[in-house]
Symmetry: C2
Subunit: 199 residues, 2 copies
Amino acid sequence: MARRGAAPPDHPAKGRKALGSHRLRSFPLARAYRLIEPGPVVLLATSRRGIPNVMAMSWHMMVEFTPPQIACIVSNRNHSFEALRRTKECVIGIPPAEFLETVVAIGNCSGADTDKFESLGIARKPARHVAAPLLPDCFANLECRVIDTRMVNAYCMFILEVVQAWIDPERRDARMVHHQGWGKFAVDGRTIRLPSGKA
Amino acid sequence: MARRGAAPPDHPAKGRKALGSHRLRSFPLARAYRLIEPGPVVLLATSRRGIPNVMAMSWHMMVEFTPPQIACIVSNRNHSFEALRRTKECVIGIPPAEFLETVVAIGNCSGADTDKFESLGIARKPARHVAAPLLPDCFANLECRVIDTRMVNAYCMFILEVVQAWIDPERRDARMVHHQGWGKFAVDGRTIRLPSGKA
């Protein structure tokens, strides 16, 4: 088992300029859906036996508003699969467009033979409730627990519950990125507001 | 049961200018994930007892590439829930940004007391494999069958398999829209391409 708090208080990126303030402010759980519902590319961080890992993921969706529940597909060909299945904990980070090159680099190597944090110079911080690390270059981080594994065998599908959400208060203008296949991404453009009676 | 082909061959929009060519070209199933993975707002059309209905939806994700499988959450408070559960068929349409006002209007009324096609002037066409109608104002349409209802009671989650995909060949420049909560939407902006070894 990973020992909580065993990592240094803040593990800065090596040879990489920090994105944003790296400060994390608690974010209301009832609003966590606003980070997942738009369908961004996210990072999924795990920690098993004290070894942190991170993968890129686009197959996820909201399942419930409160408590916020998220479904995601983590292929059993991914090194993170066993970590998620065994530890039942993870952190989902929402990367801004400026972090996209690193996100793709994360997706193009495997934690099976690479310490991605070290080799890609990714910063991390200890989370409050889970052993998986927070990713302070992401403008939002969701600490999650696996609450249902019934669909893991059939679809590699995990149901997560968000137990703590964080945002970087200085990056309210961060733009999400959406994967359109084979390394093609759309960055959020103009915003449209329309009267809606529904969340 | 809805009678296949009972609808007229093309049911044009009333008092509304058609978006795009309304022509539909078959699209490779293996590429269907490129339409769902980026997390767009979509329309979900059903037809039960010959009565078509349509709802707006953002809680969906890819589950498998081939055959393409999609998970989605349809609340049992939505009129479409029973139609989907009973008929086990639907069409997912991907609306372009220009259709967003209608998408929100679709989300703000219920098929329980409204014929949305009539009152909102939404065009429809018969699908090839399912009773639910195609939505030709959308730049892509996916004909789907429900293949797994095991998670319906726990999470209102349906697993769909895409059996036929269509695109409008004249709308390759269509932009998806992503819901960020309470009527706030981000339209796809600039595109970034990065070398990736993965779909």
